[in-house]
């Protein structure tokens, strides 16, 4: 599935230029990232047809190409025929309808089956909420209902517009878990919009950055998160300061630690959720500040994970800090260390080094 966005959008002082293709190889979550007020919402509204643009918007399916917008042939597929569902920061549930009727509104206007309904209500644990008025819901509950409503409209594309922004910490974790679960269950292409770096790290497959240039907002080409985290030319490099390691869960559990394979080395994860105890690929997100370097594989530390690698890049981020890139079994890990440690350890390029990862920093995502 692919979305071709070649358009520009002008509204009062605001000007946005987009010349990108967003492609979902397998159903996954691509994140649109940019700071508040840069025009993320306008960009989305152009995609779902609520905002007028100049240019062309195409949707490519496995079998066909749909013209959603093309100013040269004056084609403008109205919003309700594009089948792009949205979940908003403030949920936007219909206040005159109950939870059940809100979801039914979408259900009755789509080709969703009774089985889809059952599965969705169950996955999002909405059963006990069905009779509620929307005003009675907490933020997290309302967001779950909004998710169910969007999914049961059977969209081609699901857009989540800062869905966690108005929630408290606990509700954020819950909704985030549900979003990951949905992605696995329904295999929908998702566009997730946020200005929160942590949400990008937790969810993104590819990242589409929105950037302010002198006169306009520019949409950068989508790039894999794992790649831009290592690319010191990309603006996300300094924002993320993290690395992603893809490891294979072997299913072996020893002393409450799950053993995962990274090439020939083992990473031990504390307490992964039960469904992850079988063999599978896990994505680990590791903050550069949680990675320290050592010249030997010290046995006398509380750190559980010590891996061997080779230094492939050294960046001086400022006067007292260095960013060190270490290649471990072909995957890149960033470590942020002080200038003091850098000098003490006499760090050099291509040197073999041991990285220590604080166990707690290992976070399984998607």
């Amino acid at each position: 599935m692919k979305l071709s966005l070649n358009f520009h959008l002008k509204k009062n002082q605001f000007h946005l230029k987009s010349n990108v293709d967003i492609e979902w190889k397998q159903p996954s979550c691509h994140v649109i990232f940019g700071k508040s007020g840069i025009g993320k919402t306008h960009f989305l509204r152009a995609i779902n047809g609520l905002e007028k643009v100049e240019g062309q918007i195409l949707w490519h399916d496995k079998h066909q190409t749909e013209i959603w917008f093309d100013s040269s042939v004056k084609r403008d597929t109205p919003c309700h025929q594009r089948h792009v569902a949205m979940v908003f920061q403030d949920q936007q549930l219909f206040s005159h309808l109950t939870v059940e009727d809100n979801i039914k509104f979408a259900f009755e206007r789509s080709n969703a089956t009774h089985h889809d309904w059952q599965q969705c209500i169950q996955a999002l644990q909405i059963e006990p909420l069905l009779g509620f008025k929307t005003q009675q819901l907490s933020g997290g509950q309302a967001q779950r209902v909004a998710l169910a409503r969007a999914i049961l409209s059977r969209p081609k594309l699901l857009i989540l517009d800062e869905p966690l922004a108005s929630l408290d910490w606990q509700a954020k974790q819950d909704v985030l878990r549900y979003i990951k679960q949905l992605n696995q269950l329904w295999k929908l292409p998702i566009l997730y919009v946020t200005h929160d770096v942590n949400e990008v790290l937790a969810l993104a497959d590819h990242v589409i950055m929105l950037e302010q240039t002198q006169q306009s907002t520019r949409v950068r080409d989508p790039r894999p998160l794992i790649e831009i985290l290592q690319d010191d030319d990309h603006p996300f490099y300094t924002l993320g300061k993290s690395s992603i390691l893809n490891v294979t869960n072997t299913g072996v559990v020893k002393e409450q630690l799950v053993h995962c394979q990274l090439g020939n080395q083992i990473i031990r994860l504390p307490e992964v959720s039960p469904e992850n105890t079988t063999e599978s690929t896990l994505r680990l997100c590791i903050s550069a500040s949680d990675v320290s370097l050592s010249l030997s594989a010290s046995q006398d530390s509380s750190i559980i994970n010590i891996l061997k690698g080779k230094i492939t890049r050294i960046d001086k981020t400022n006067n007292h800090q260095y960013m060190i890139q270490v290649n471990i079994e072909g995957q890149m890990l960033l470590s942020e260390i002080s200038a003091h440690s850098y000098n003490r350890l006499k760090i050099e390029l291509w040197q073999t080094i041991f990285v220590q990862i604080k166990g707690i920093a290992l976070q399984a995502a998607m």
């Binding site: 779902n48 047809g49 609520l50 109205p78 919003c79 309700h80 089948h83 792009v84 569902a85 949205m86 908003f88 936007q92 219909f94 206040s95 005159h96 509104f105 979408a106 206007r109 789509s110 005003q135 409503r149 969007a150 409209s153």
Partner: protein, 220 residues
């Protein structure tokens, strides 16, 4: 009692027509970004400030044999729409239009475009979304608009006097009848009819305010 029945009939049909034509006008005024819409707004508010006689005078001309009303009447073999129930209906619709448009416009503005757009993203087209989302959300506004339109038509006098005349069962509404009774010094009958009109109007206004309070309390 014929006058009372005629008045209620006139108010009922006026309100019905008003609700139908005020809906698109109010929607347009609430949501259009058309720059010159203030002209339409001013035009619609005219009945609020003009003496009913002025409005009635223009209507008389328009409905008469030389006006568009006369042409319309010629379609079914009449000469004029003035001094007929149809003419009265047209007159009261115009006269009461702002009282129906304004509550609806406020209601639509308050609801905003967002619920409609959300409905679009859930595969609903405009009419579907309007029928199932906007109309129910605007229910309080419709109750206000209909009640105000009805009550205002009940109290109409000047316009009717100009274009309706005083034909029993055709154009002799209650306010005209009261006027006639007073002129003939029949104070007894004038008292009865006035009291009825007062009662109906009070009950209807009380109904509007009660529903507004309930709405604030979140019952509606």
């Amino acid at each position: 009692m014929d006058a009372l029945f005629l008045t209620l009939k006139l108010a009922f049909f006026s309100t019905l027509i008003l609700i139908i034509i005020a809906t698109p006008i109010a929607w347009f005024l609430a949501h259009s970004r058309f720059k010159a819409k203030f002209i339409l707004e001013a035009l619609l508010a005219l009945p609020l400030v003009l003496p009913p006689t002025v409005l009635g005078f223009y209507l008389l001309i328009a409905l008469g044999p030389q006006g568009p009303g006369g042409w319309l009447a010629s379609l079914w073999g009449e000469q004029t729409l003035a001094f007929s129930f149809t003419g009265l209906l047209i007159g009261s619709v115009i006269y009461s239009l702002p009282f129906v448009v304004q509550p609806l416009q406020n209601g639509f503005s308050l609801i905003g475009k967002k619920p409609l757009e959300v409905a679009y993203t859930l595969n609903a087209n405009f009419f579907d979304a309007f029928r199932h989302i906007i109309l129910p959300l605007a229910k309080p506004a419709y109750i206000s608009a209909a009640t105000l339109g009805f009550a205002h038509t009940l109290g109409e006098f000047g316009v009717v006097l100009m274009i309706g005349g005083n034909i029993p069962n055709e154009t002799q509404v209650i306010s005209i009848k009261i006027f006639e009774h007073v002129e003939l010094l029949e104070y007894q009958q004038a008292h009865i009819l006035s009291a009825i009109l007062l009662g109906i109007s009070f009950v209807m206004l009380a109904f509007i305010y009660a529903s507004r309070h309930r709405q604030k309390a979140g019952v509606l």
